[in-house]
Amino acid sequence: MAGEPPKPDAKDVRQGKALMRGQILAQNSAYIPAAALAARKQYLCQAYEDGEYLKNKASKDQGPANLMADPKAMEAMMGGMKSQMMGIVPQTLIMGWIQFFFSGFILIKLPFPLGLRFKQMLQSGITTPNMDVRWVSSLSWYFLNLFGLRGVFALILGSDNSADGTRDMAAMGTMGAAGQQPGQPQDFHKQFLSLKDSLAIIYHEWDLANVEQRVLVKYGKQSRLFKSSAE
């Protein structure tokens, strides 16, 4: 019912890995000789600009892909919405159950007096304007305990305990939000272009420029590194 996980596409993988390759080059450019870096820089900058690695080279200038047009993204959205639908049904049942059984009567009298503003909070569902605020309706008491005792449970049972009912409600909430906004599809062309810019300005500082001195120091033939490696 929730649908198959999306089949990986070679073009997607290629896109992602090409981005990673550029990032690794930017990060580790110090470890290869200058000529190697220059060749890669030139090739990759050109390739990124041309959209060589893009999944859909032809449409690179059209901005982020229209979600409706990409069947894979559609499936991902549908999958999310389907699981959200499944989640809604039990939640609805539970809320209905609670509403039916636990509304319309008073449960508890609070030991301390409160102002009139709390009437709305503590007596939801009961329409008697004159009743003292100290009487709490069952529904309100339920919600009060649900949210109020969360902290106490966390303290006693440690976090991530199963006595926390708000977790299910939060899950329902996030499913609803996620179903509506499946997240912006990454705009690879923009990312490629920004990576191209950062690659273009790399200044090559070869890690091995003074390796001769470092080795001599390591094996005790020289006491310390000198600024100029020219001998």
Partner: protein
């Protein structure tokens, strides 16, 4: 005293192929009940034993182990690839190829199947085709440094040194601290004649891996060769000679290399030591 299971796990980690050792270690594990007690590890052991068995030619054992794996992981891609390997080893490459093609048709990014197809081509001697396929593979999976290494090895078989150097550079970009890759890169550069890069890379090797004998041999050879090139007339010198270290520095490096090599062979007995010293003093 490590248990057989621990030793097998170490072999898996280093991904060395040592069929005889593996089979010897695994025999008690398989025959007694130790396998069942090993829990989920035992499937890894079975896979390891399978590969060792087909390496060794023990097809019956391979078949038994494969049946066990198939029973547990029905429909698994990993097990299917093992079936392919079995067919390859038993001499039915077409059946194996069909299986790999099926796996790729179902999922075009299946790394196991792609790699097996390339390995088949290599085993059958179609090196050029294997190179072509592998180039396609690294075009898609650019961060698989083992694939780059394999491509470098294939290029070296064809003596295509610049291409092999390119592949090693990709590997070094991904694993800059591994001295072995620097060593391979240094040797390729030495063979190509790019001695300035070779010297630096050999020095990097001995920096990363103390007293690395191959590294020091490389340092001595390149330092001597560069000194020799510098003493030649200007027009015979290669283009990069300006970037290479000065003779005094080369002298110091060669001396260091000689010293460390003699020390490395110190415990090897008189005859090897004399041979090394004789060679080094030339």
């Amino acid at each position: 005293m490590s248990s057989p299971l621990e030793l097998l796990a170490e072999l898996r980690q280093s991904s060395e192929r040592r069929p005889l050792e593996t089979l010897k270690l695994a025999a008690p594990v398989l025959n007694t009940g130790a396998a069942a007690r090993a829990g989920d590890d035992r499937w890894l052991v079975y896979e390891q034993v399978f590969v060792a068995a087909i390496d060794d030619g023990d097809m019956d054992l391979a078949k038994t182990v494969l049946a066990l794996l198939h029973k547990q992981f029905d429909g698994s891609q990993r097990v299917r690839r093992l079936y392919g390997m079995y067919n390859d080893a038993a001499g039915h490459p077409e059946a194996a190829k069909k299986l790999y093609d099926e796996m790729l048709a179902a999922d075009e990014t299946n790394v196991l199947a792609s790699k097996r197809l390339i390995a088949q081509l290599k085993a059958q001697g179609h090196v050029a085709e294997a190179v072509g396929r592998l180039v396609e593979y690294v075009d898609t999976h650019a961060n698989d440094f083992e694939a780059w290494l394999e491509l470098a090895a294939l290029y070296l078989r064809q003596h295509l040194y610049p291409q092999a150097a390119f592949c090693l550079e990709e590997v070094i970009l991904q694993q800059p601290a591994n001295h072995y890759f620097h060593l391979c890169y240094a040797e390729i550069n030495y063979t190509m004649g790019c001695l300035d890069v070779a010297l630096k890379e050999y020095l990097r090797v001995v920096e990363l891996s103390t007293d690395n004998v191959r590294g020091f041999y490389g340092v001595k050879l390149t330092a001597d060769r560069i000194r020799e090139l510098r003493s030649r007339p200007k027009k015979e010198q290669p283009a990069w000679i300006g970037a290479a270290p000065q003779p005094a520095m080369l002298e110091r490096l060669a001396q260091l290399a000689t010293e460390r090599l003699v020390a490395a062979y110190g415990g090897a007995g008189a005859a090897p030591k004399r041979a090394v010293e004789a060679w080094l003093s030339e």
